[in-house]
Symmetry: C2
Subunit: 647 residues, 2 copies
């Protein structure tokens, strides 16, 4: 317990909740890490598609980036609108649910869940891969490093979103400042040396052009570059993490993330073109990433370079954090609607939805172990989820504007047009991604998605059935409130039996004691068993019947049952069946005396008979039977400190 | 469940017990495998000590064997007496308990437990080692083979001792017949070719004498040869496994085992001397065991040789079975006396003491894994336990004869002398074993033994304290049997709440309903919480208060408690504390409605809140509180088949 407190902090009260919300400055590290980290791989992915075109391809960096920025602008405006329209977590699930119907919302939810899960695995493994290529000595420990970082991010998030945001603010803002510096110095160097700026360190020489630039190639470049936008939707999914006024803080965070991302993309596209930096083949030895080449070309490989690359590593590795903020909130929404177990909607000791965090961590750990922590094997599974959600969310907003427009009497043409454009473009990007990556592993995502939707629907169906079964039918019925038949079960005659009998007499005048015989197995010697019975009968006559007669009360009845198979529950179920037949309308209360264990080792000394009996009886005895636990303590427990009634 | 039944057979009734006892023919494979297997390693161990003396040493095989046979005779007579004197499992523990006091009995019990555990590990690993040296392709799988055989022996023993005895009878009797044949053929060959019989296959040439034969060497030879006797005590420990008349069946089994063992030892000693077969250094390449050389020398390396060696392998491997018969019975005796958890005394589904079997298997698996399944590392730990028990058992019998003699008025000189001789000789052997093997690993056994004794005493102390606490103080008190205060806890208003209220009203007129607020965490929006409370208040007025007034009954009280830390038990414990203060003498019954889960996956959908609350309340609420489980079923359970009352 002390360890748990040390790791995760004290249990927070519900009333502490308002103090644990984020402002925009904290929102960027909490939800922006995924988006900002995209700048590290988006441009690289686009330039990689252009490798076969050689140096000629670099000329297309500018128009493709312009198209991506246009899409980013569309997404920015669109998600800004979504935040205003759905201020209680307006992720793809909620928007689809309100506008496209249940099935569509479940598809969006499943896509988001898969996306978040993969984001954790991909982010951590990509960060570790970059770290390992910088420090080759760590190479044998890739998976261990991945799992250690996963454990760290999980633990910090179990402490709470504000703690994670504060802790991760340092690398996030360091990354922003460093790359802003690189871009600024690069621009200054271009202006200072007009014509052809001389790079400090020469970038790799682009390959000779082996392929012409076709429209299909440009489309693929665009689709690959679109991965730079994954993570932009994060803010809309996590609005409930912000303090009031939520919408305003959400808008500010979204604006900050979008502006930072756009600046990075523009700067990278500009410098890549000017310095002539190509993507390199990742499978070849001597590979260096575009951002690494770029930074080296602008500022050389000194201290600045290393700080910049270190901040990039941190941001990549910690980009998993965005999932940890949003996944549990998505699960909570699903649980509130009955599509996930209700435990996902229960706030844990730090007011986080701990179960969601643990499931995300468990799933990511499984993915990392299955794929050995290798990013390349995970990447093809990724991006589909994100773009599917983008598309559905945009489509949902189109329907939203049409509906609200109809209600208000005038069409909201501007917002509708923006979301319609967003739908078409993200939809097209989705189709290209699916088409190009299907055989590389994307089929796994496409296969898992319907299964997940099915599970969500099955869960809902169970809860619906339960709710129908439990629905109350009106007024409480005060008739037939006769006392129950109280059955006291005992193995040995002791204080516990005494106590159970007294409690049974407090609950009902109809008390029956049942002694279970041969519960431990066959008697050691013939006759042992009968001796026991005789002894108990004698004690019963002296200690129960005689005092009852003295007090003028009807004494409880004593009965012996043989547990021929050493299972307590079978003779008791037989007795219950018999009593049901005799008294069909009466309640049967089974009293179970139990020695309460204070320490774990006492559990070893007591066995689990009482608990096993409890679960058997509860499972099979039917609704006419109730179970009464009679605790008995070797030492009376001291009540917890600070217990006070709050109503 | 079906799988369990397939593996272990149907659940046996107590009344089946008498049909599951052993006769002498079954007793030999059940309890004799350990003793007979000793013939394989005892002579070998003695001859190994004689290696440095070269061919001259072989001359001492006869006198040392004679001494060992003498000791075997003493042990035989002694254990025969023990069986008669203690017909309910007269192992070293019981004999020491009755004659030497508790501490001595615990030392004997701990020594026996360690001995049995090591016997399993050593037997299986020795068998596998022999198998691997015969089939070298199996070499990389030594540990896996050990664990597989352990699992097999465990599973068969969980089915029952008779099943194990029947299954293992084939290899046991095959081994006996084969070696009897070898000895007979050997003797015939000696008689047919007087002077120097020519071996079919020449045995290894003894080394040149490098060391003189000293008394100390002979003593060590004797001590090493004494390991041939381990397992002789097994019958006396397992008497309760025999059918009536137990003593007679036990005597027959002991006689059979002792005679078979003695014949084997005589035959081996004779043939070894006649054919001049020396022990070989086990660490050298080309090593062959004495029995292998002997068999080859007498009958050649044909089919007979291979069958004989195969039966030897089986017997070695299955010698673990003796421990599986005796260890659980020893644990049962200890549990009956309160030195081990009582679960060890409960007969399992096949009327075996399953917990003992599982503990033995678990401990042996741990030993095998720790020592990598290598016999040589385990051997030095062994034999100490066996000889310590021998010595204590013999000493106990000496005291027994003195006492019974004093009681009967005349000394029982004969039996007493035999046991006294046994005490001295086994004690001496023990001292030699400890002295020669201390640094090789015997210190582990010597270090573990007191720890085990301490644990046994601690367990006893706990049970004694519990029994003192539970001891009944006499007549049942019929005063102050007022009804309890019934508290109905609910989260939502539904049929479950309704049912719990009705049951509470059946148990008491003083019913208080408690609604726990903010149990899932902070309300989504400010005011949500108050809306809920208002709705519940309205429903309460309509569905509970109004019908009560109509029925002319006092309605239950409604109260709201805030679960500020989302833990059900804290506000309830606070309420219990308050009610205690107000009504110090009244019983408080907390009613917990619970949806009963039929399938494992439903547990995932319901969470464990009810069970968690139960364990917290039971642990902390104190003995004035009882817990009432109100089960609710989505589908009413169907009762099990074949339920009938047996009293």
């Amino acid at each position: 317990m002390a360890l748990r407190r040390l790791l995760f902090g004290r249990t927070l009260a519900n009333r502490d909740d308002h103090a644990r919300k984020l402002n925009a400055l904290e929102g960027v590290p909490a939800m922006g890490l995924d988006g900002l980290a995209s700048a590290a791989y988006g441009p690289e992915a686009a330039l990689t598609v252009l490798i076969p075109t050689g140096a000629a391809g670099l000329a297309y960096a500018a128009p493709v980036t312009a198209a991506i920025l246009g899409l980013l602008a569309v997404l920015y405006v669109s998600y800004r609108q979504t935040i205003s329209a759905y201020p209680d977590n307006g992720g793809g699930y909620i928007v689809s649910k309100h506008n496209l119907g249940t099935l569509a919302s479940l598809v969006a939810a499943a896509a988001l869940m898969i996306d978040y899960l993969l984001n954790v695995a991909v982010g951590i493994s990509a960060g570790v891969a970059a770290l390992v290529s910088a420090v080759p000595a760590l190479h044998p420990h890739v998976l261990a490093l991945c799992l250690a970082i996963l454990a760290l991010v999980t633990a910090i998030n179990l402490r709470g979103t504000p703690e994670a945001a504060r802790l991760f603010a340092v690398p996030t803002y360091l990354f922003v400042v460093c790359f802003a510096g690189v871009v600024a110095i690069g621009v200054v160097r271009v202006i200072a040396a007009p014509g052809a700026p001389a790079p400090v360190v020469a970038p790799a020489r682009p390959l000779a052009a082996g392929q012409a630039v076709t429209l299909w190639l440009l489309l693929r470049t665009f689709a690959a570059g679109c991965t730079a936008m994954t993570g932009v939707e994060a803010v809309s999914n996590g609005i409930s993490a912000f303090r009031e006024p939520r919408v305003q803080h959400g808008h500010r965070t979204l604006t900050a993330i979008s502006l930072l991302l756009a600046s990075l993309l523009i700067g990278i596209a500009y410098l890549v073109t000017v310095f002539g930096i190509p993507a390199m083949d990742q499978t070849q030895p001597g590979y260096r990433s575009v951002l690494s080449q770029l930074t080296a070309a602008v500022v050389g490989t000194g201290v600045y370079y290393h700080i910049t690359i270190a901040s990039l590593l941190c941001v990549l590795t910690l980009s998993a954090n965005t999932s940890f903020v949003d996944f549990p909130r998505l699960c909570r929404c699903l649980a509130a609607d009955g599509f996930l177990p209700r435990s996902f909607a229960i706030a844990g000791r730090r007011l986080m939805f701990s179960l969601g965090i643990l499931c995300l961590a468990g799933g990511a750990a499984l993915l990392l172990i299955t794929f050995g922590g290798i990013t390349d094997r995970l990447i093809p599974l990724f991006a589909i989820g994100a773009f599917l959600t983008f598309t559905m969310s945009q489509a949902g907003m189109v329907v939203h504007w049409r509906r609200t427009g109809q209600r208000a009497g005038h069409r909201r043409r501007g917002p509708l047009a923006i979301n319609a454009l967003g739908t078409v473009v993200t939809g097209a990007a989705l189709i290209i991604i699916v088409a190009t990556k299907l055989t590389e592993g994307a089929w796994i995502t496409i296969a898992v998605l319907p299964g997940l939707v099915l599970v969500l629907r099955r869960i809902k169906r169970y809860y619906d059935r339960l709710d129908r079964g439990l629905r109350d039918e009106g007024a409480l019925d005060y008739r037939d409130l006769g006392p129950p038949i109280a059955i006291v079960v005992f193995e040995r005659w002791n204080k516990l039996t005494d106590r159970a009998l007294r409690i049974a007499l407090q609950l009902s005048a109809d008390v029956r004691a049942v002694h279970l015989r041969t519960l431990d197995g066959p008697p050691q010697a013939a006759g042992d068993d009968d001796d026991d019975s005789r002894a108990i009968r004698a004690q019963w006559a002296a200690d129960v019947v005689a005092p009852a007669q003295a007090a003028g009360v009807a004494p409880p009845a004593l009965r012996f049952l043989r547990a021929e198979h050493r299972l307590m529950h079978r003779p008791l179920l037989a007795l219950v069946k018999q009593l049901h037949a005799e008294h069909p309308s009466r309640l049967i209360a089974v009293l179970l005396p139990e020695v309460i264990q204070t320490w774990w080792w006492q559990a070893l000394l007591h066995g689990r008979r009482a608990r096993k009996l409890q679960s058997y009886l509860l499972r099979f005895a039917g609704s006419r039977v109730v179970l009464i636990h009679i605790p008995w303590y070797l030492e009376e427990p001291r009540p917890e400190h600070g217990l006070a009634i709050e109503d």
